[in-house]
Structures are given as C-alpha cells and as structure tokens.
Symmetry: D3
Subunit: 158 residues, 6 copies
Amino acid sequence: MIAVYPGSFDPITMGHVDIIHRISVKFKTVHVLVAESTDKVYMFTPEERVSFLEQSLSDLNNIKFHLTSGLTVDFADELKADVIVRGIRAVSDFEYEMVMANMNKNLAPKLETMIIFANPKFNFVSSRLVKEIASHNRDLKGLIPDCVLSAFQKKFAK
Amino acid sequence: MIAVYPGSFDPITMGHVDIIHRISVKFKTVHVLVAESTDKVYMFTPEERVSFLEQSLSDLNNIKFHLTSGLTVDFADELKADVIVRGIRAVSDFEYEMVMANMNKNLAPKLETMIIFANPKFNFVSSRLVKEIASHNRDLKGLIPDCVLSAFQKKFAK
Amino acid sequence: MIAVYPGSFDPITMGHVDIIHRISVKFKTVHVLVAESTDKVYMFTPEERVSFLEQSLSDLNNIKFHLTSGLTVDFADELKADVIVRGIRAVSDFEYEMVMANMNKNLAPKLETMIIFANPKFNFVSSRLVKEIASHNRDLKGLIPDCVLSAFQKKFAK
Amino acid sequence: MIAVYPGSFDPITMGHVDIIHRISVKFKTVHVLVAESTDKVYMFTPEERVSFLEQSLSDLNNIKFHLTSGLTVDFADELKADVIVRGIRAVSDFEYEMVMANMNKNLAPKLETMIIFANPKFNFVSSRLVKEIASHNRDLKGLIPDCVLSAFQKKFAK
Amino acid sequence: MIAVYPGSFDPITMGHVDIIHRISVKFKTVHVLVAESTDKVYMFTPEERVSFLEQSLSDLNNIKFHLTSGLTVDFADELKADVIVRGIRAVSDFEYEMVMANMNKNLAPKLETMIIFANPKFNFVSSRLVKEIASHNRDLKGLIPDCVLSAFQKKFAK
Amino acid sequence: MIAVYPGSFDPITMGHVDIIHRISVKFKTVHVLVAESTDKVYMFTPEERVSFLEQSLSDLNNIKFHLTSGLTVDFADELKADVIVRGIRAVSDFEYEMVMANMNKNLAPKLETMIIFANPKFNFVSSRLVKEIASHNRDLKGLIPDCVLSAFQKKFAK
C-alpha cells in the first residue's frame, strides 16, 4: 500500500517523527506532502521545512518528500496512493479530520483516510506551541529534532 | 498488509458492511474477529452473528471470520496481522478508541491501530439502537442487511 | 405547533420544570411522554412520576401527560405532533441526541427534533445525581420540586 | 410561530437549503438573517449572498431574507420572532451555540433558541470548506446549489 | 501555597471575579498575571486591564497584579509560585488547558497546574463575547464589573 | 491546605500513584478517600484496596487513607479539608467532573474542587481497563504497582 501523509510541518516535531517511523514500517512507500499555501504564514520556508524532515528521517528509505500547494486528493491521485494517513492528538483534532475525510471521500471515492493516534508522550507537542515556547528561548530537547532545535536557537538568539 | 477488524457484531449493520467493503479493497486479508465475551449479554448467538457476517459479505473473498474470547492483540499476533482497524462514528467513540489503541500499543508495540470514519449516512446506525428499534417492530430496511432484517422479524413477530 | 417532550422523569427536576415552562409558552400543546420501559429500573413508579409532573406544573394548562412504552415517533404520530423537543445540558448528551434525532428522522421523516439548552444554573442537576445525593439525606431545595423533596425525605428517612 | 435563522451564508450550501426547507414547513414565517459584519471578510458581497439564497429557495413562500449588521436578538425583536433556529453539524459547533443561546437568553429572556441537527449526508459541508475546495477547481455538485456552482466556476476559472 | 492566575483580562468579567474570590480564600497569595503579548490585539491597554482588575477586586488583600510578556512558567518561578490556577468554562477550553499544563510540566516539573470550574451562571460569559455584545450598546449589568460597564459605555457611546 | 482525593482505587494504578505524589508535595495533608459503595461491584475488597494504596505510597508521610461510604463533601467537612482534588485523563471524564464539582459546590459552598491532569504517559491506564487486560494474563509492569501485579497474578493464575 502507498500512503500520503500531508501536513504543514512548520516545523516537524518528535510527534511527527514518531508517526512517520510507525507508518514507514507498514506501507511500501510514504509520501510526505509538505503544504505550501499562499494563505498561511509560515515560520520556516518550504525548503527549510523539507530539509528538517529529510534530516530528521534520514534513517528511513521508503519516504519521499513533496512540496504541494494543491488538494491532497489530487496529489494522492498522481502518486497512485491508496490512503491518506493522518495522526490525531486530541478530540478537538478529531472532528476536523472527520470532516476532511468525508469531503475527500466525496472528491476521491477510492481513496481512504486512515487515522493513527499520536504517542501519548508527545500529546502536548504541536508545531504551534513549540514555536511559541521556542520564541521565549526555552529548551525543547526531546520534543523536536536537533536540527529544529538549532534553527530555533539561531532564530531567537538574542 | 493484513488487518484484523474486531467487534461484537450483535448484529452487523450496514455501517459495518460499508467499512468492511472499504478495507477489503485495501488490505490483502481482513480477519473479522467476532467477540464472544462471557461478561456480555448478546441478542444473537456467536454462530448467528458469524452467519449474518458471512451472508452480508459473501461478495468479498479476502475476508475471514473468527470467533474470539481473548485479547485482540493476542489473536492479531497469531494471525500475523499488521494492523487493527476500527471504524469511528462519533466523538464519543473516539476517546475509547484512543485509550484502547494506546493500551494495545503497550501490549504489542509492533501492531498499529488505524481508524477509518464511518460513512456519514450510517452515522446514527449502531447495533444497540438497531436492536431497540427492531424490538418495536419498525422497518430498518437500508440500515441492516436483509438476513438481519428477517432475523429481527422472526424474533419480534407478535 | 404541537410538541412532544419525552423523558424518564425519575424524578422531575427543576431543570425539567424550567424547560417545560419555556416550551409551553411557544407551543400550542406540549405532550410530556413519560417512559415506562420494562428494561429500566426506576426509583419511582410511573404513577408517582406522572404525579410529580402534574404537581410541579399545575400552573400550566397546555401540557398533557402520557405514560408510554413504545417508540417516541409512534406516539408523536398518534398525537399529531410536529416536533420532538429535547433539552441538553452537556456535550456528552449532544451526541446521543444527534443519533436519536437522525434515527427518528429516518423512521418519521416529517417529524423534526428540536433541542433547547438547559438553564445554566441547573446544568449539574440530573435525575440520576439527584437520587444519589438524596439517598444520603442531603437537602436539594431549589434543585427539585417540593413534592419530590417530600418523597425523597419519606423514602430515605432513617 | 415565527423563526429567525441567522448566518453568514458565504455561500449557502445544500446543508443550509435542507435545514431551511425543514423549518419552513414548521414555522409560519422564517426570517433568514444574512450577517453583514464589518469585522469579517466575505468571499461574496451581501447582495450576492442574498441572491444565492433567493435563487436556491424560490420554491418556498414563507421565507424572507434580511441583511443585518446588528445583534440577532434585536432584529428578532423587531420581527416579533418567537425563536432563533440554528443548525448544528458537529460537537464543536455545539458549545459555541450553547454559549450564544445562553447569552441571547440573558439579553432577550422571552426569545428561545432551538437547535436542529444537519442532515448527516451534509455533515462535512461547511461554507468555509466548500470555498477552499472550489478554489482548486473541483466539482461540488450536490453539495451547493447550482447558482453557487456557477459563481464559483466564474470566480476560479483560469 | 502561592498561586499564579494568568490571563488576558481584556476585560475582566464577573466569571473572573468569581474565580479570583474563590481562590483568594484558599491560597496565601494569588498573583494575577496580565498578559501583554505583542502578537495580540487588545481592546483595552495593559494599564486599563490592570486598573479594572484592581477596582473589581479591591476587597481582597492577598492578590497582586503583574503585567507579563514572558512565559507563565518563568514568571511563576520568579514569584516562587507552587501552582498555576486556570478556570474552565467548557469542554472546548479543556483540551487547550491539558496541552498547556502538560507543556508547562515539561518546562517546569515542580510547578502544577490546577483547574477550577467556572460558576455555571457565568458559563456563557467570555471576554470576547462581552466585547462583541457591548459594541452593540447592550446592557451587560451583572456579567461584568461596573468599572468595565462604564468603560464600554464611554467607548461605544454614539 | 488540606486536600481529599476520593476514588474507588479498584485497584490503584501508576496514574493514581503519580497524581498522589504530585499533590502530596503541595498540600499539608492529603486524605485519600476509598469508596465503599453497596451499589458497585469491586474486584478487590476495601481492605485490599487500602492495602495496595499503603504499599504503593509508603514513601509519603502526609497521606492518610480512609474507607468511606458517604458523600465526599460530608467526609471532607469532618476532615476540615479545603479542597477536593480530582485527576482527569480525558475529555469524557471532564463533564462528569464538572457536574460533580458544581453539585458539590451547591452542597458545600466553601469547599473547592481542583482538577489536575494525569501524566500523559498514563493516559490510557484506567482501573477498569487494567483489570480487563490482567484477566487475560498479560503483563502490566510499569502501569500498576508491584503489589497489584502480584495480586493479579495470584487471582488469574491458571
């Protein structure tokens, strides 16, 4: 089975690393889709976000990274993917994912969305919160890959 | 990939039928595990529940049915399954599934739980509610397979 | 418009009283359906439950009380009701009500379910909790009608 | 009974059409209030939004459309409305509606808010998501009225 | 025990007043931290927000007010606080608070977050909603302190 | 401050151990109330449940254990407690706790309920689930104290 795993990854956290490791074992190929939306403001450039993914997951060899600005279902179709995989950390994520999965099923009836649960120990680790804490120069070791740690230190060094 | 899809199926509904059809396309084999717990009171015998499954899914040929009274993780191990698949209809199901998935991950670290969302049009169709309505002799055509419809009619005929 | 307002009312609380007052102003007639299920264990007999309702709502003259053991939709049909009204106190009630409303819509397409929110000050007042507290001989004045207060005192007098 | 049904309708979806049809049967008059807030950015002008509503609901003759920038309770008062009707698709909508209903009850004690549940088959159809998908030139037939379909095609034609 | 109670207080509502009264009885000192974030747009200046707090809570003498732009955990450390106290009004607040509490535990393992529930009668009273209603010149007596009432009247006088 | 921490503890899990450790540091005394309800069926006797608590928490010296069959608020009053402490693992616990806290506030206005969040790594560890898994002879090391591990092994040895 071929999976796409879409996200913003602004930046990748250890929660993402854990999920990608777990699904890379199950699927033949995992295509990580890195969103590049003109509506959103990112902290890191698309190239930086992909580079953090590549550095953090260099031990896996069935993972491919793609920048994408279109709909996930269209890209999944091009890549001949069988499923969209999404990780869920919390109940509040759940309804958004259900709505997206149902809409995507409507747009691409043969593509299925499969959800896996984030590791409980990374339950509180979101890209958004990690950026906020990092901007106050606090150490996030263990919650984000080392390459992101360095990038934060450089960015927020006084 | 080999999947186990555990449940009580007391009785199977069109919600289950829809999910099993969708996953049978994706996985090499789907092992449907029919729970036989001594703690629970079922309306239908294990043999009836399996028979309804067989009749409702006779068009699929990569599905196997098993009666089980043990832990899903143990049976999954025996069957060399890669994933446990669960369908979710509602937010209130979600937390139960998250707890079970995390516990199962703890018991069997290599097995993953994957969630797929029920078809919205069967969102209100649970085995429990279907039994309650059927006991009042109301027609449930379209919500349960025909064999279950007949079984209900026989059981609740006045 | 004619409404049915179904429930167990075991016993009626000030939360129910508040909701019935509010809907009695809006609807031509409100039929209060008092469930009499053989599967459930009630603290008060159907007659006691109806009597508490009558005493607590004697100031309203467009309310009728009915004991019912069938489906709400069937009784609503007999009474030529336009809507089922349900009160919600909490998010956890919400999904149950959504499932029931969707199932009822499937059984009786012309009948609508309308939800109104319980008064926040009775947010924590459920029949179940009120019985539990009363069994410990605590005063529940203001949370239940006086007739229920007396019934509890008699039942749990040492 | 007279109802107000407030919303942004940017644009109207088949979920809204379904709800307005269902309530138009129950209420003497349904006043659809189309919000015109200076704080919000809309994709369609107030006039376009009203026009889509008129075209999509031309078969109903007890519906009136109003542009409003004030509080719903004030407009409801002017229109001598008995209830505010709101549709709910998901648990996450529910708490917002409960807060608004309680606040509105505080501002206008005689006005009640009544909730009806969206048709499950339109469960994933929100104005926001529909706009996002349409901007990628995907077909949304069946999820939005034809007049909105045309407007999207014109807007996003390459 | 020393507590910090962080918030935006833009402006303080009777919900906040109630919570601060309740915790001031329990803790030796309550440090109210008034957030001054450069990312957020406030209706009232930091000085106004602190002044409303001081006027509304002048009857308590173990409360101190601080303007802060840093992380709560850092300020709590400086103030030798034992716990962060947060009030919760709704389920949707809950997950945000759980995530923040877990992250803060990670940053400051000895500091605990304790949650208390808002008084149900102020369940629908948020700073955001209060501002929106006030901008339409509606009376909010009983939901906000008198000093805030006057400030709103001045700000929104026609 | 004096706290009561009520529960069934049938049996104590590492989730409870973690919470009791964290609150024992903050409060002068923590009274652990072990429920002995005639309505509930427990796996372990009250004496066993208290004994597991004592063995698992023998390193703490400001903790006292009490068997109780009454209301928590009554016992808290006798013990001159300032707060009831409860741990929450999930959103679904949250509403139950809010209802109980509001009811307890009604019964004992000076007593506050304070909630702390369970350690995410014990998020899936409930007494109920632990008993179910143990009955299938699976190892739960790390999720329950050693004394409970032994008790399970004795009870479910084949």
